[in-house]
Structure formats: C-alpha cells, structure tokens
C-alpha cells in the first residue's frame, strides 16, 4: 500500500515553509505529538546535476529565500574547493561582511516578526504595528540594517548577485563603505533596546540534554568556514560530514531527518554559542550574560535569545570589517576560474545552523552529483524529541495551551522548511 | 577669445577646490570604459578617456524627470517640480557638446521646456578636446570633432599642461575663482591647431560622403534590402537609443502614493526601438517590425532632425555601434552602404 504524505494537522504559521504539528488527545491526555513536514519537495540536488559551475550558486541560492547567502556561500566554497581556487583575504572579509547582513536580517526577521507575536499574544506582527509600534519599528530598523548590508555589498537582499566563484563580481566603493559605517553605528541603540526588551520577557524553563553540532574555527566565531564540531565527539573534518549528519527518511515528512551518536542533535544559534562562546565579540559576550545564556544551555526556547547575541556579534564584526576595508582600501581583483574534475565540500553556518554543499564536478566544470545537508533537517529529529518531552511534562495542560507551547517550541528553532525540502 | 594655460598638477588642485564648493561631475573610469559621475576627489577625474558609457545629456535630460506633484483631492492643482542643482561638468568631448546643441534646438526652440532650461542654465560646462578618438567614433567625418560655441571653458591636453579657452562669462568666473592659470600665447594656440589637426587622422571609422548628403542618400534608400537584412536581427532592446546623446523621446507616466493622497507625473526616457512605441490604444502598431523601427531611427538621425531642428541627429560618437549586440545599429555603416547602393543603382 502506498502511504502518501498529506497535509495533516495544523500548518504552523510564522515559519518559513510548510510543516504541521499533529497533536492528538485521547482520554483528555495527549497521546500523539508529531512534527510533519508537508512542503512540496523540490529536488534541487537533482536539478543541480549537469549544471555548469557558473550557475551552480545561482541555482543553489534558490533553495531558500531567507538564507540565500548561506546557500550561495556553501555552493561557492564547494566549487572553489573542487577547482582548487584560492580566495583572497579581501574577498573573505567581504564575504563575512555580506554574511553579517544575512545573519542580522534573518535573526531579526525571526525575533521581531515571527517569534514576537507569541510574547504579545498576537496572531502576527501586523496588529503590533499599532499596539507596540516602538518594538516593531526597532525590529524593522535592525532587520533593514541586515538588508542594507546585503544590498550594498551583495546587490540585493534576496539572492544577491555579487558573489561569484573566486570572489566578487562587483566591489563596494569607498562611499558605500562609509555609508555602511554610519548605518552600523546608528544601529547600536536599537541593539541595546532589543537586549533590554528580551531580558524582560519570560521564556519557558524547559530543558532536554542533547548533542550540539556546529562549525568551529581556531581564530574566529565560525560562520563561513571551519571544521565540524560535536559536543559528543569533538571535532571532525568536513569530509566526515556524512558520518555525522546521518540522514534518514520518515514516512510523515517530505524532508529528511538526521541523527549522529544520540537519537537526535541540534544545530543553530544556540549550538554555535554552546560550542564557540569564547569567540564571541565583547559586546556579544556581555549580551549572552545579560540574557542568561551560560556555558552549555540545553533549553531550546533560548535559541531566540541566542539569535540576539549573534546579531550583536555580527554588528560588531561588520564594524571591524568595514574599518579594515576602509583602512586597507579595496583592490580590484581578476577572477579566473579553471574548471577541473573533482569533489568539493562547502560548509557554512546558516542562520539556522550547519549547512553543507557537496559537489562532484566533471572536467568540463559540470556537476555530476550534488548533496546538500540542510540545517533544519538536522533539527527535525531534535524538534520531535523535544516535543515529546515537552508534552510529557506538560500533559496536564489543556489542548490550546499545549498546542501554543508546542508551536512556540517549534518556532524557536526558526525552522526553514522550504530549505529542508530542497 | 581668451586663452589660458595651467599645469596638470595645478589643474587637479583647482578641481579639488571646485569639488569643495560645488556639485562637480566628471569622467571616471569604469573599467573597461568610462562614465560621467559625481566627483568626490580630484584624483577620480580621468580626462584622457575615449568615450563615456552614457553621454552627459543625462544631466540635462535625466532618465527620469519629475514634471509635477499633485494631491489626489479631486482638484486639478499641481506643484511645479522645475528646478536644478547647480553644478559643473568636467570633460565633455566635442561630439557631446554638438549633441547638446541639438538638445537646445529641441527643448529651447519654439517651445521652451522649463525643466531642461533650468538645468541648462545652472550647469557649467568644461569640455576637453578628444585627441585620441575611440575606435568606434566617426566624429571627424561628421564635422563634430571640434567643439561648437557654447562651452564655458574648453581644455586641450598639450602634454604636461592644459590650454584653456574661455568661452563665456561663467567660464571667466570659474577661472577667477578656482584656476591658477596664466595667460597663453600664440604658440600654445598654434600647438592646439596642430594637435587637433593630427587627431583627425586617428579616426578609424568615417562616413564616405559629406554629412550634408545623408538626407539625399536616405531619400533614395527607403526600399533598400539592407533594412530587412539588419532589422531581422534587432532585439528591439533600445540600447542604441539609450546611449545616444541626441535621443530625446520620452514617455509620460503618473505614480500615486500608497496612501492615495498624492502623486507625481514624470517623464522617462523612451525609445522608438521598443516594440510598443508607436502602438495605439486599439492595439494597432504603426511600426510593427524591427525593420520599421531601425529604419525610422536612422532616418530620424540622418534626416528628420535636420529638417525639424536644423542639426543632424547623429554626432558620430559611435556609442550605438558599440552598444548593439547584433551589430546593426551603426549609422556610418547604413549611410555608407546606402550611398554605395545609390551610386551603383
């Protein structure tokens, strides 16, 4: 008999993509809780096959509208590794700067537009435009900062055009950097307001021990490069990813699930802070302290706070980079790409966690096979186990409250489902 | 006529002083070409250029010009949007100044277009001789290799110095205010003649006939097979017209704010090469094919503009030749070929 995946339960709103929370009760007690992914599969790995190297990142970008830069960078890194291309220091700086835009925008979108209505008991951010206008405007300004960085450095906010294999198709001029510098400086008061606001919000004191995985790098808070790291098994090389992100298919989901040594693991802002807390910039460390994020934090609800910490970190990071670029000046670079047969693995920390693109190229520079490991897929199993635990300890709650709590849990992972059903 | 000279180093300092006090636009490198853009420092200015992507007419007839603002309150009352930011443009080549003279004839002829006029009045022009012409330019044979009257200052690169011809009172004032220039003598002026003369031989493309004969050649060439042959390839992309310094056609459009309280009417560059340019509301298109449109454009450049405004619509800059990806936009090719066809019957 064929088991077709159908839309069941309630589709979760205010997340990216289509997923449903199936929560059934029997005899007044919750009996089934299930995290179903109902997004239409899109088959990007299949579509990437045969594409020439210069459109790989263009196509890969379309896996996700929220984290398009992450997909581009993972794709570019894979291609660059396959072809043995060395990327200049300047390009790395610019990529980090663009990435700051992505992290800031994506985190602020989640914090201020998707998550915040839960705290204000609203269905969406739209009514808050009237009832809590200051809060929303603060969020919009910070979100816009992210988009402004993406537009100025990347060309546009979604699917930016400047990143290319080997570097950048367009470099920012001095005027651009100067205006960016101002924008970043102007954002500091809004960041402080945000920290203040969230320090005052109460979140669920739930915890469940799990494994955390992210990239790690000796010199920096790893976002666009580094080695793999697990809180259970320590560090690993990129090409060992398949042994770490063990993907499997579950019948109620169009997206794959994943596990490593435990039954599930988590990736994302909280994982990164759990693993790389020492590498955070000073103001970000202070923010983490203020928001009560300790050394290892196993409350998934805290992920939203962790995103705020990272936003602060990235604003500081962007300020540093702009300063450096202004001091050094921007040099024109010539991009030369000589395709060759080979395999490349690119890994980045997307806003929602570890993202890997693994390509095999033929000698004409065409993709023979592609594999993409998506952050949200790695979280699906963890979400499922968290949900089970959450329902177990809250089984005395009524259905509405329990559903709301479960939805908040799911949302705090900031799942990106269209990505995960790539 | 007054002539001055100034060392290049001095000139750069002068430009720096101009930038401190004015909106200054000049030629900047945009590899592998050049463009007119706002200058922030004097070292951005690049005067030994061959061509700019767009001509400086974008400062006088901007791609988008607001015409009027209005409230959507059912009344017909509009706010004028005439006005211009005073400024100085440095580096206009002779052919582009010729083109500006044509724009003057169009917009300051019988009817005075206030929007154009306002800009024309407050923007000073500092031109420079084009001694190393671009490979696509055929200005020499169009008679547009040297500047017409109408500039404020005119530079000629004489090696380590610029020779400056003062063309107007505004130019004199610019000299007084910003340029530490000294009087130039007959020798320098003679040298300019010589440099100009020599530059003529550096043009790679040329019109085989006198430009005055273009209308005649066109008169006999309407049915040439050339139009079809070229027109078939046309993308109707309008690139040739967007880069042309003498193209003046526009569309007028309205926008309204989201709040539906106010709006704006503006004009925006249009192109006779676009498919729908001559389409009326009933759907009838009076120039339905690429062939029709290509022919119209080259007639307009070579004949109609001359008839109506007294100047040829092509100044030989060569921008359209270069801009056209299918190599069909060249006026010099078309006119030469028609002339040849006319000779051989």
């Amino acid at each position: 008999m064929k088991v077709k995946i159908k839309t069941q339960g309630n589709q979760i709103t205010r997340v990216e993509g289509h997923g449903s929370l199936v929560l059934r009760f029997s005899g007044g007690k919750p009996s089934v809780v299930r995290w179903d992914i109902t997004e239409s599969p899109r088959f990007f790995e299949f579509m990437l096959k045969g594409r020439p190297w210069h459109d790989a990142h263009v196509l890969a970008s379309r896996i996700c509208g929220i984290c398009s830069v992450s997909h581009q960078f993972a794709s570019l890194a894979a291609t660059e590794e396959a072809f043995g291309i060395h990327v200049s220091e300047q390009s790395i700086l610019l990529r980090k700067l663009l990435y700051a835009g992505e992290i800031i925008e994506s985190h602020m979108l989640h914090v201020y537009m998707l998550a915040i209505p839960d705290f204000f008991d609203a269905g969406s951010v739209f009514p808050l435009m009237e009832t809590a206008k200051d809060v929303v405007m603060t969020g919009l300004r910070l979100k816009k900062l992210g988009n402004d960085i993406k537009e100025l450095i990347g060309g546009r906010a979604i699917h930016p055009q400047t990143p290319m294999v080997g570097g950048f198709g367009r470099l920012p001029g001095k005027q651009t950097l100067l205006s960016l510098k101002n924008l970043l400086n102007e954002a500091i008061p809004d960041l402080l307001t945000t920290v203040e606001l969230f320090r005052g919000l109460s979140i669920s004191q739930f915890r469940r021990d799990t494994e955390y995985i992210s990239l790690t790098h000796p010199d920096e808070y790893a976002l666009i490069r580094g080695l793999l790291y697990s809180t259970e098994t320590g560090s690993a090389k990129l090409d060992e990813y398949a042994d770490i992100a063990i993907e499997y298919i579950v019948p109620h989901s169009t997206a794959k699930f994943a596990r490593h040594v435990r039954e599930s693991y988590a990736v994302g802002a909280l994982s990164r802070i759990n693993i790389n807390r020492k590498k955070l910039n000073p103001m970000a460390v202070q923010t983490a302290d203020e928001l009560g994020i300790g050394t290892i934090c196993s409350n998934p609800f805290v992920n939203t706070m962790a995103q705020i910490v990272e936003t602060v970190h990235e604003v500081e990071e962007a300020q540093d980079i702009v300063k450096k670029l202004l001091e050094n000046g921007i040099a024109e670079e010539k991009l030369t790409v000589e395709p060759r047969a080979g395999r490349g693995i690119g890994a980045v920390e997307a806003p929602r966690g570890l993202l890997i693109h693994d390509y095999i190229y033929d000698s004409n520079g065409r993709i023979v096979s592609a594999n993409c490991v998506i952050p949200t897929n790695q979280n699906h199993a963890n979400i499922q186990y968290d949900l089970e635990e959450l329902v177990r300890i809250n089984s005395d709650k009524n259905e509405d409250d329990l559903r709301k709590l479960c939805e908040m849990l799911i949302r705090s992972y900031d799942p990106c489902i269209s990505c995960s059903t790539h | 006529m007054e002539f001055l000279k100034i060392s290049k180093a001095q000139f750069q300092l002068s430009v720096g002083r101009m930038i401190d006090e004015n909106f200054v636009y000049g030629v900047k490198a945009k590899s592998p070409s050049y463009e007119f853009d706002r200058l922030f420092t004097a070292d951005e200015l690049c005067l030994n250029y061959n061509i700019t992507l767009l001509s400086p007419n974008k400062y006088f007839l901007p791609p988008r010009t607001p015409l009027m603002g209005f409230k959507l309150d059912g009344k017909i009352s509009v706010d004028s949007m005439v006005g211009a930011q005073p400024g100085i443009i440095i580096g206009i080549h002779p052919y582009d100044l010729h083109a500006l003279k044509l724009l003057d004839a169009v917009f300051l002829g019988n009817l005075k277009d206030a929007y154009y006029q306002a800009r024309r009045q407050v923007i000073a022009i500092i031109g420079i001789d084009c001694l190393q012409p671009w490979q696509y330019s055929f200005a020499a044979s169009m008679g547009t290799a040297f500047p017409p009257a109408g500039f404020d200052l005119w530079l000629t690169d004489t090696g380590d110095k610029y020779l400056i011809e003062v063309g107007s009172e505004k130019g004199e004032e610019l000299c007084r205010k910003y340029l530490d220039a000294s009087e130039a003598g007959e020798i320098e002026v003679k040298q300019r003649e010589k440099l100009r003369e020599e530059s003529l031989s550096r043009y790679k493309l040329s019109l085989d006939i006198s430009p005055q004969l273009i209308p005649e050649v066109l008169n006999s060439g309407w049915n040439s097979s050339m139009w079809e042959e070229l027109g078939e390839k046309c993308f109707s992309c309008g690139s040739c017209t967007m880069v042309c310094p003498t193209c003046v056609c526009f569309d007028v459009r309205d926008t309204t704010e989201l709040n539906r309280l106010s709006g704006e009417r503006y004009r925006i560059w249009d192109s006779c090469m676009f498919d729908a340019f001559a389409t009326i509301a009933s759907g009838e298109n009076f120039r339905p094919t690429g062939t029709d449109r290509l022919r119209h454009r080259l007639y307009r450049k070579g004949k109609y503009m001359l008839q109506r405004w007294g100047r040829l619509g092509c100044v030989g800059c060569g921008r359209c030749i270069h801009a056209c990806l299918v190599d069909i936009a060249s006026p010099v090719y078309a006119y030469n070929r028609l002339a040849r066809e006319a000779r051989t019957g």
């Binding site: - | 959507l72 709006g263 009326i280 119209h296």
Partner: protein
C-alpha cells in the same frame, strides 16, 4: 499656479469642470466641459486636447463640438484603457485637467464655399463632429454637404438624436451603413462596408473636399474611392490617430516620417500623406 506664463505650464493641465455627462452607448460617453477660469477653449474644429486625470495619466481626445456652440465644449470618449475608463467613472461637477487645444485642425478657410463629403467610420465620427457642427452652424458659407457614416453594427451607431435632426434638414444628406446587421436588429440603412455607399452619391469632384476619419484600416479603401470619384489628392483630408504623450512635438511617439501628428496634424491632406513613406495608403 496654473497658466503661468512660464514654459513649465506646457505640461500643466488647466482645471476643467464636467457640466454634463451623457452615455452614448455602453462604451462611449459624451462629456460637456467648461474651463474653470471661464475662458473659452478657442479651438479650431479638428483640434484635440490632452485630457488629464491626475494620478492616472493623459489621453489625447478630439474636441467633438464646434467653437460656434459657445464657451463649453464637448469630448466623446470610448473607454479602452486607464485614462478613458477613469473618465467614464466621473460625474457632472467633477474636475479634470485639459491641455490644449493642440494640432492644426481642419483648414476651415480653405473649405469655405466648397462641397463637403464627410466620411466617418466608427468613432472617427468624434473628430468630424466638430466640423460638421461648424458647417451646419455656418451653413451659408459652404456648398453641398454629404455625411457617410459607417459602423460595424447598428448598436455602435452613436448620436441618433443628432443624426435625426440633421436628417430632417434639407441642406444636408446623411447616409449610413453597418458592416453587418445581426438578426432581429432594427436597421433601415445600408448593410455593407462604408465604401458600398459611394455608388449612391453624386458629387462634383472639382467642387468637393472629402473629410475622413475612422479606424486605420478604413483609410486605404475610402481614399481609393474618393480618387475614383475624381476628388483631387489635396482635397482628401484625413484626421489620423497616433500614440501621443506630450501633444507639443517633443515626446516623439506620434511621428510619421518627419511629421509630428500633434503639430502638423492630426489633419493631413492625402497629397501630403502620400509623400510620407511610413503611411501606406
């Protein structure tokens, strides 16, 4: 603000009040308007204005009434796009913008004492109406007058009342036709394209000037018939429609060869048009 002597007013519409709105059919409406400054439009029959709806756009519209009819003037408008549809939503008392009059208009003084053959196809009747009214108001100045009016079907024939009044006069001959007549429709006139009316008319070619307006396809056939009747090329006068934006000879849309329809037209005689290569008649 409006009507500055300054040249920017070239683009500024003059406030104009709708004093009467009459539906002519489902698609066409007749507007009666008066400039709010109280002036007359001072137009020549055959000229047009640019009608402005702020926030929507402008459309060139022929003045459908004769200057002999007083300070108010009329526009007859078919709803086809944004501006014309917006006009159709207006009520008497509303204000619109008008620029113009523009264009050359009919060569009224040349037409004095001549026999006039008006040939209107569809809404080509609108630009001709101003001249017909003028001629009827100044009847003694002109010779014999014939109006041929063709539409696609009876429902599209407009201005019944006016036509009826004119028909009742004995100093003007009106002949109408429809391309086809759907069954069970009342129709007493001819059935067939407009050229099928020609055999029925009797003119003195040397005394006659033809004035033609209609859809683009009509011109070729009508001109051929006029020539066949022996009317001189200079005496076949056509009013043309082209795309138009500025109305003042700048935007380039209405150009036919070197002629700007907004300045040199919209009225052309056939001898002139024949020289324009882009006109295939």
């Amino acid at each position: 603000m409006i009507n500055k002597s300054n040249s920017e007013s070239l683009y500024f519409p003059r406030p104009t009040k709708l004093i009467d709105v009459t539906a002519l059919s489902e698609r066409e409406i007749l507007f009666r308007l008066r400039l709010e400054d109280g002036n007359a439009l001072y137009h020549i029959p055959g000229q047009f204005v640019e009608v402005s709806i702020l926030g929507t756009g402008e459309a060139p519209i022929s003045i459908a009434s004769s200057p002999t009819q007083g300070d108010a003037f009329e526009l007859a408008i078919r709803a086809v796009g944004n501006v014309t549809q917006a006009l159709h939503r207006l009520q008497p008392g509303d204000t619109i913008g008008i620029r113009g009059p523009f264009g050359n208009g009919f060569p009224v003084s040349e037409l004095k004492d001549r026999d006039l053959l008006f040939i209107a196809g569809g809404i080509g009747f609108f630009p001709l109406r101003s001249m017909i009214q003028y001629v009827l108001d100044m009847r003694p100045l002109f010779g014999k007058i014939i109006l041929l009016y063709g539409c696609r079907q009876p429902a599209e024939q407009l201005f019944h009342q006016e036509l009826k009044e004119w028909r009742e006069r004995d100093d003007v001959l009106i002949m109408d036709t429809v391309d086809r007549c759907p069954p069970e429709t009342e129709w007493e006139g001819n059935v067939g394209v407009i050229t099928t009316l020609f055999p029925g008319i009797n003119i003195l070619p040397a005394r006659t000037t033809a004035l033609v307006a209609g859809p683009p396809v009509m011109y070729r056939y009508v001109v051929a018939e006029c020539l066949k009747k022996g009317i001189a090329k200079e005496r076949i006068i056509l009013s043309l429609e082209r795309r138009m934006k500025c109305g003042i000879g700048l935007c380039g849309h209405c150009q036919i060869d070197n002629a700007y329809v907004c300045l040199d037209g919209p009225v052309f005689n056939y001898a002139k048009l024949e020289q324009l290569k882009e006109v295939e008649l």
